[in-house]
């Protein structure tokens, strides 16, 4: 499953970050690296971008970018 498909309010663990170049580096540097816990907080009124929390801060990313992040839901 990728991050854009994750249900709101359900924590998940990042398993892989796809993509390449600048974009991928930026995602990694913002702390979106494997084994990190993320949660989707809400979606924008036009459904895109989405708001997520990780490492006790809030980040917004576009669905396009969220699709690059593979996650696994935690129980």
């Amino acid at each position: 499953m990728t991050l854009d498909q994750l249900e709101i309010g359900k924590p998940a663990i990042i398993t892989k970050v796809n993509g390449n170049g600048v974009l991928r580096c930026r995602l990694l540097e913002m702390g979106l690296i494997p084994e990190t816990v993320v949660e989707v907080v809400k979606t924008a009124p036009l459904k895109d971008p989405i708001e997520i929390t990780l490492r006790s801060y809030v980040l917004t990313i576009r669905l396009e970018e969220a699709q690059l992040i593979e996650v696994q839901e935690v129980e």
């Binding site: 974009l23 690296i33 801060y57 576009r62």
Partner: protein, 660 residues
């Protein structure tokens, strides 16, 4: 001594800069850095501190990051002050680790400690300092707590040239082996090039071509380095980028586990979530945004703004009148008087007339920015703006552009990427500003009495559509490159600091006056000169004989295809560059009999279209020059806008000719 202030966006960097320097701030060029930087003198000392752009990393992806990196490497500041948001310490420390690799005297200013305490969190400062190998000073920039201690520690660190004690952030394993092996290879080269070997190593692992060139590594060594990296990637099971990020975050997690007792979900966060239930609500978000912007607009360009602007103008005008009367009494030469009154003072007046507008707009804009609402605007509007290849925040300069291009161009400063900023600056002038309304009114009175509203609306939409088309084209050609991904932090809502709001207004006003003065005043004098003399430098009574008139006649063929190839219209367009309202007054003077006989409906429409799209005024050019930081690019933009205006007006004229 000179210090560099470095930190993430939203870490309170500007607040700290203000707390350190008060109103003693300047903007200037530093050698080696392409963009002007803000710097100030730290209170009670004679040390300079440079406010570098807010960044998350010094991997050079964006101009902001390049500026920071170049400043630190080339200008060799005596110390780096790294501001870290204690409420968001993990992510903030990522940049810290990169800074420590540079091996320059560094002090961490741990900001927002008041919030950490208020939410029952705590940070063991001594332990954190030991684990990072640099001094850590707890501060609250907004409450101005810990500032003098920070100044003291930074001074000591700089004077004793204390290099960070720790730079090795890897645990034993493949990444560790790789870094050390490569470090060994590049060490001598790095020493020779005078950069930190550790920094060079990390950049080389991440395939930074610049640093490889700088170190003058030969083919053979590059081969060996590449094989080390490949070996590491295979053993670690991650590519080098993920492996390095992972290594840094593992180190940070370890540091935080030991030194930080995390605050519970903070009051500020809970409050933000509640506010956002309304402000970024599924249905309410966009209407609320529209209401907020309309209110700001209404205040700025409505009663309050008009009141201030009018009174301000009365003051300016009476000042000019006094000078005028004095000069007349003195019996000064008419031409000298005309130069002073119609040239110099008119120019000064037009610079000053923008002041109330800029002050009011930036008062509101800094509140939007400081409260954190600007980030919400970006979040809500992003999808819409992305359709034309921009991101959410660009909506703000565009909307201001309908009021006045000058503050709109100045407002692009807050845009997250250089690319967005340039494209927005290019497009903002197509938003029809309020100063053009008198021209529309003048022409519609003559030609479109029945369809006034239709023509007005059409012009506004014409500007927007032109911007959309150009943006779409430019996205496919010129601005293709690497758009910076929209990965934006959502800060908590905060009360804006009065001090920072006032400083920003002051800053913008000063900035505009300083920068705009030369361009606007000299341009006004030039136009005055062209209007007052003929080609033999005799004073002319009849404007058609002036140099401007002759130039207008010379340019007639250019405007013939647009349907208004009469020098008087061309002259009006040139004087319109001083201020758009001047187009009307020039036409009234040059064509006392009225314009109806000189234009057809189609050519009137074409003239209006040209007015809508060509460069707004000298003040706007001055603002563009300021924000682009390049005279050549500014001239390019002006030519581009005139070309667009010509092409669109030509098209309108041809199409209208068929139908009317």
């Amino acid at each position: 001594m000179i210090y560099a202030l470095v930190g993430n966006q939203n870490s309170g960097k500007t607040t700290l800069f203000n707390a350190l320097t008060g109103s003693n701030q300047h903007v200037g060029n530093f050698p080696g850095v392409t963009v002007e930087q803000k710097y100030g003198i730290i209170k009670g000392t004679n040390y300079q501190v440079v406010d570098l752009p807010g960044i998350y990393s010094i991997r050079p992806y964006s101009n902001e990051e390049i500026i920071t990196r170049d400043f630190i490497l080339k200008n060799n500041p005596d110390a780096i002050i790294n501001i870290v948001d204690a409420m968001n310490i993990e992510r903030n420390l990522y940049l810290t680790l990169q800074l420590l690799e540079l091996r320059k005297p560094t002090v961490v200013a741990l900001n927002m400690m008041d919030e950490v305490r208020a939410n029952n969190g705590s940070i063991n400062i001594e332990l954190l300092s030991d684990l990072l190998g640099v001094p850590v000073v707890p501060i609250s920039a907004i409450k101005e707590e810990g500032i003098s201690e920070l100044i003291r520690v930074v001074e000591e660190t700089a004077k004793k040239k204390r290099i960070p004690k720790i730079y090795d952030f890897c645990k034993p394993g493949p990444v560790h082996r790789c870094i050390h092996a490569i470090s060994h290879i590049v060490e001598d080269h790095a020493d020779e090039a005078d950069v930190s070997a550790r920094y060079a190593t990390m950049q080389i692992i991440l395939d930074d071509q610049n640093i490889m060139d700088l170190l003058k590594l030969d083919e053979n060594k590059i081969e060996i380095i590449k094989s080390h990296v490949e070996e590491m990637e295979n053993e670690r099971g991650l590519d080098c980028e993920a492996a390095i990020a992972d290594m840094r975050y593992k180190f940070i997690e370890n540091v935080c586990n030991q030194a930080v007792s995390k605050p519970e979900k903070s009051k500020e966060r809970t409050r933000s979530v509640n506010i956002d239930k309304i402000l970024t609500h599924k249905y309410f978000a966009i209407p609320i945004f529209a209401i907020i912007i309309t209110t700001i607009f209404w205040i700025t360009f409505g009663p309050l703004g008009t009141f201030l602007a009018d009174n301000f103008e009365i003051i300016i005008d009476s000042g000019i009148d006094i000078v005028n009367a004095f000069l007349t009494d003195y019996g000064i030469n008419e031409i000298v008087k005309s130069l002073i009154v119609d040239g110099i003072l008119a120019g000064v007046g037009s610079v000053l007339s923008f002041l109330p507008l800029i002050l009011i707009l930036f008062f509101f804009l800094s509140i939007l920015e400081d409260t954190g609402y600007m980030a919400r605007i970006a979040f809500v509007m992003d999808k819409l703006l992305r359709k034309i290849g921009l991101s959410g925040k660009s909506i703000v300069p565009f909307l201001i552009g309908f009021g006045c291009t000058v503050p709109a161009v100045m407002a692009t400063r807050t845009l997250p990427s250089e690319r967005d900023r340039k494209l927005t600056i290019l497009l903002v002038p197509f938003m029809s500003c309020t100063a053009k309304i008198p021209i529309y009114a003048f022409f519609t009175d003559y030609f479109f009495v029945e369809h006034k509203a239709l023509i007005m609306t059409g012009l506004y939409f014409g500007g927007i559509i032109t911007a959309v088309i150009i943006s779409t084209i430019f996205n496919k050609i010129a601005f293709k490159g690497n758009p910076i991904p929209f990965v934006m932090e959502m800060p908590n809502y905060r009360l804006p600091g009065i001090k920072s709001v006032i400083l920003l207004m002051w800053d913008k006003a000063k900035d505009f006056i300083q920068r705009a003065f030369t361009i606007i005043v000299s341009a006004t004098i030039l136009v005055w000169f062209l209007q007052s003399f003929d080609l033999r430098f005799n004073v002319v009574e009849d404007a058609s004989l002036s140099i401007l008139g002759s130039l207008g006649k010379l340019m007639e063929p250019i405007f013939k295809p647009l349907g208004f190839g009469d020098y008087r219209f061309v002259t009006a367009l040139v004087t319109g560059l001083i201020a758009k309202e001047t187009v009307v007054s020039t036409l009234e003077v040059l064509i006392p009999t009225g314009i109806t006989t000189l234009l057809t409906t189609a050519s009137a429409l074409s003239f209006l279209t040209f007015t809508l799209l060509y460069t707004p005024c000298f003040a706007a050019i001055a603002a563009i020059r300021r924000e682009m930081g390049s005279a050549v690019k500014t001239i390019g933009i002006v030519i581009f806008q005139i070309a667009v205006a010509w092409v669109v007006a030509f098209t309108v004229y041809q199409i209208a000719g068929v139908f009317i």
